[in-house]
Subunit: 220 residues, 2 copies
């Protein structure tokens, strides 16, 4: 498969959405879809879809659209599904626990190996089949099991320190839920942060726009 | 303030990031910043920054950069901070509880009024100062308190039904954590979904790209 060397962040961000939409289409029994129909369901134009997918090679056939299952598989391949990525969770408070219990790691190509915490009440227990170890053993576990990603759900005060420890121990990526912008000294470690506030503020903007006409009437 | 009618989704998505970066700069004591320095810290070009902000009017002075505090305030205004948006949480499992306890709603211009659940063990209790009511009272509460946004942290099986109830009851937006694409019959209700998998898959892509050379050596 041809891959253009330089793929923009915007395209990378859209790839998981393509995967998600194609999975839903597959479940709904759709076999083929045109770029315009796929675009419509994703809020993109047909030409944007064609441009995005062109970054990764030739998909689909002029006039026949895309085969849903094979396009989904190809995109899954690009996203690294077949690489057998491994992950550990650092921090098993409410958020860590919620994600361990509800998030389908395997459905996203990840194997969740273990969780770490310092709280004696949880160390030595299991959460949804995942063992919880003491954080003291984090580095040796990462080395031994060649862990790819550390998910950070620790309190904000511990974020940078635990991020440093994960990076030093050799993970390739940090999935950061701490709402703290981790500065990673090791340049080859990718930090992906989930910012709940970015999402709520985008929603705030969108509902404010809809309020605009009324507010103007109220306050001329 | 001049506002161009049509602002692209990409720009809307960047606005909360601007706000976040400007808050950090403000905390670090930065008074003025050039578009190139702001761009560098956000991974954008100076011209992209100027274009983005131009959508909302004239900010900054040629050659003097942006005043951090007033730009932050203006963007906060655009994002709807001063509108006094209100929110209720529907579903107080681990995820709902984690967000109620840790997320700074007020720091994002939202007032969290109440939470709703059906579990008798939590109905009637308080989580971090927030009362938990029975979901039966959701509609009357929303009407009475003019709730703007319903945050959905219910199990996936209840997602569509609770989304419908929120929309029918008159919320303007749904902040959806259920990993289910809610189809909103009421066209004026904005659904903003937080997809953890989109974030993990983007991370998976980025670490896979870094692995690429090695894997190719292993498997020529």
């Amino acid at each position: 498969m041809k891959r253009n060397a330089k793929v923009s962040t915007a395209v990378i961000r859209r790839l998981p959405r393509y995967y998600r939409h194609l999975s839903e289409l597959q479940e709904a029994g759709v076999v083929r879809i045109s770029s315009s129909a796929l675009g419509k369901s994703m809020g993109l134009t047909a030409s944007q879809i064609r441009q995005d997918l062109f970054c990764f090679g030739e998909f689909g056939q002029q006039g026949y659209g895309y085969k849903v299952d094979s396009l989904k598989e190809e995109i899954g391949e690009i996203l690294g599904f077949s690489r057998g990525h491994t992950l550990v969770v650092v921090g098993t408070g409410n958020l860590g626990r919620a994600i361990i219990q509800n998030f389908r790691f395997s459905g996203n190509g990840f194997q969740l190996l273990a969780a770490f915490d310092v709280n004696p009440a949880v160390v030595g227990t299991w959460i949804a089949g995942v063992p919880v170890y003491h954080a003291d053993g984090l580095e040796s576990f990462i080395t031994k099991h060649r862990v790819d990603v550390g998910m950070l759900t620790v309190p904000i005060a511990a974020a940078q320190q635990m991020g440093d420890r994960l990076a030093e121990a050799g993970v390739k990526g940090i999935w950061n839920f701490t709402n703290y912008e981790i500065a990673c000294a090791k340049r080859d470690v990718v930090v992906e942060s989930v910012h709940f506030s970015d999402s709520l503020l985008a929603l705030s903007y969108m509902i404010s726009q809809r309020e605009e006409p009324n507010r103007q009437e109220e306050d001329p």
